[in-house]
């Protein structure tokens, strides 16, 4: 069904990223801080404000 041979240009690109030196890495600790702040803490604050304050304003 398939083939493990890649076209030359694709092979070049794949080989580039197989070199660990070319892997840009994952999220940094600063990124995780941002993701937690905007994706978890901000929603929690919105939920609390919306539930306890929003209806009375």
């Amino acid at each position: 069904m398939g083939d493990s041979t890649l076209p030359a240009e694709l092979e070049k690109r794949v080989a580039f990223y197989e070199d660990p030196a070319n892997d840009p890495g994952g999220f940094t600790s600063n990124d995780w801080t941002l993701l937690v702040a905007t994706g978890i803490l901000l929603p929690l604050v919105c939920l609390v404000l919306g539930w306890f304050v929003g209806w009375s304003s």
Binding site: M1, G2, Y17, D23, P24, G26, G39, P43, G50
Partner: protein, 480 residues
């Protein structure tokens, strides 16, 4: 040979599903933020706000919608951004490790249907805005919209087609132009509504309000599923950035936050004006001059988003092996034509069923993000074989069984079943614990758990999925 077949020439232009090299990935945080923000800021925000306004007053509605939206954006970001930015691939390729080398049949289909739906909506709004704009400047009569809406839709698609003949470069250019227009007029619309309708907004009662907890959960769920719909879009844009670090902020703040902020306009207007469509009230509230100006904003915003959507869809189409060889412009046509058909011939049908479309977004994309997140972060520990994304031979790491991963298929089924049990996408009837948990989060969680269990008892023991291989892992972390 069934590996992706694309010309080196087109690959160098970043218009394929092949990994982009760093020299081709030139978007910094600012450029990515602008492109993502322009992509997110469109008329669909108004109709999203409208649906929240059926159940919630202004501030609870805005806050519930914002909470849901940011949770949804976090899920999409975690699911797609790490792989797309590490290897310069789009959302479809980023899902290969979980769904298999033939998994594109699922993901491309969902992407295609989702983007056709959203862009059809944009085109309809674009046409209506163009019609109202002509009315505002004194051109045309009562029956103008019958002609203008389809003509404007065709012209808009032609514009998008021409822009995207340049690929991602065209997308970036048009985003830069639209950015200040969108921010400025969007802010003006919000201020205008608050200043002129502030008192009425404070007293407005939602049309379908019933139980406080259930209504609040509807608001969260609508915000969440709306942002899950960025799954098909985001990878084709974040792949233009060189690392996850560059994309994390623009993703959350550029693509996530503008949706609830602009949805505020739709939420406010449905509460006090009875319609969320700015095309029908902007000239009444803002006067002919400012109304016409704002209508131009609506048209421009929709064009920017439609451009991003058609681009993402076209990149996804190029990931289909049988379509990999076709020229970029032909793939572009395959993205444009269905949108034109729905936007022109099925206008009323699509409008009447928008709520169902929105709920079905959650039905499918919630399980997908759950599966991707648990696999990438917990099971694979961020190890990915970039070669495996393109190697379709039977013994390739992501070939699984006949190119499909049964763990992903069964997890999808479990997630979809969970969602449908909790929320009926057609009637919005719910079963508990919807009022406590919503539908998307449980669907994502169930899919993730089923995927993890099946992977450990079925896939890994069979030596499938590349879990045992030494593959690329993010050991070198850079900040930029």
């Amino acid at each position: 040979m069934s590996t992706d077949h694309l010309s080196a020439e087109s690959a160098s232009e970043g218009e394929t599903s092949w990994p982009l090299l760093p020299k081709e990935r030139l978007w910094n945080r600012r450029a990515l933020f602008i492109v993502l923000m322009v992509a997110a800021s469109a008329t669909w925000c108004y109709i999203i706000g409208e649906y929240v306004g059926y159940y919630l007053p202004l501030w609870p509605g805005f806050l519930a919608m914002t909470a849901g939206a940011m949770i949804g954006m976090l899920l999409v970001t975690l699911a797609v951004v790490p792989v797309s930015t590490r290897f310069g691939v789009d959302s479809i390729k980023a899902a290969v490790p979980q769904f298999g080398t033939s998994g594109w049949t699922i993901t491309v289909t969902l992407q295609y249907l989702s983007i056709i739906g959203w862009n059809s909506l944009l085109l309809i709004f674009f046409g209506k805005s163009a019609s109202e704009f002509l009315n505002a400047i004194g051109v045309g009569g009562d029956n103008l919209s019958n002609v203008v809406v389809p003509v404007a839709a065709v012209l808009a698609l032609a514009f998008v087609f021409v822009i995207l003949m340049r690929g991602a470069t065209g997308l970036e250019r048009v985003a830069m132009w639209l950015f200040f227009f969108i921010v400025g007029v969007g802010a003006w619309m919000i201020i205008m509504l608050l200043v002129r309708e502030g008192t009425a907004l404070a007293d407005a009662v939602p049309g379908f309000a019933s139980d406080k907890q259930l209504d609040f959960q509807y608001g969260i769920e609508i915000g969440l599923v709306s942002l899950l719909s960025w799954w098909p879009y985001i990878g084709s844009m974040t792949r233009e950035a060189r690392s996850p670090s560059i994309a994390a902020g623009p993703s959350m703040l550029g693509m996530g936050l503008p949706v609830p902020v602009l949805s505020f306009v739709g939420l406010s207007s449905i509460l006090v004006l009875g319609t969320s469509d700015p095309a029908t009230w902007l000239t009444d509230v803002g006067g002919n001059f400012f109304g016409a100006l704002a209508l131009l904003f609506v048209m421009a915003a929709n064009l920017g988003t439609a451009t991003a959507g058609i681009y993402a869809s076209t990149v996804g189409i190029k990931a289909v092996p049988a379509l990999g060889r076709i020229p970029w412009n032909v793939a572009l046509l395959l993205s444009v034509v269905p949108v034109a058909f729905v936007g022109i011939f099925l206008t009323d049908w699509f409008f009447d069923n928008f709520g169902t479309f929105l709920a079905y977004i959650g039905v499918f994309f919630a399980p997908i993000v759950g599966i991707q997140i648990v696999d990438y972060f917990l099971i694979r520990q961020q190890r990915i074989s970039v070669r495996g994304l393109y190697n379709t031979s039977p013994d390739a790491p992501y070939s699984y069984w006949f190119g499909f991963n049964p763990a992903a298929l069964l997890a999808m089924a479990a997630g979809v079943g969970t969602y449908l049990y909790l929320l009926n996408p057609q009637t919005y009837a719910v079963r508990e614990p919807f009022s406590l948990l919503g539908a998307s989060l449980p669907a994502a969680l169930v899919a993730a758990v089923v995927f993890a269990v099946l992977t450990f008892i079925l896939v890994k023991p069979a030596g499938k999925g590349g879990y045992a291989e030494a593959t690329s892992t993010p050991t070198r972390v850079t900040s930029s």
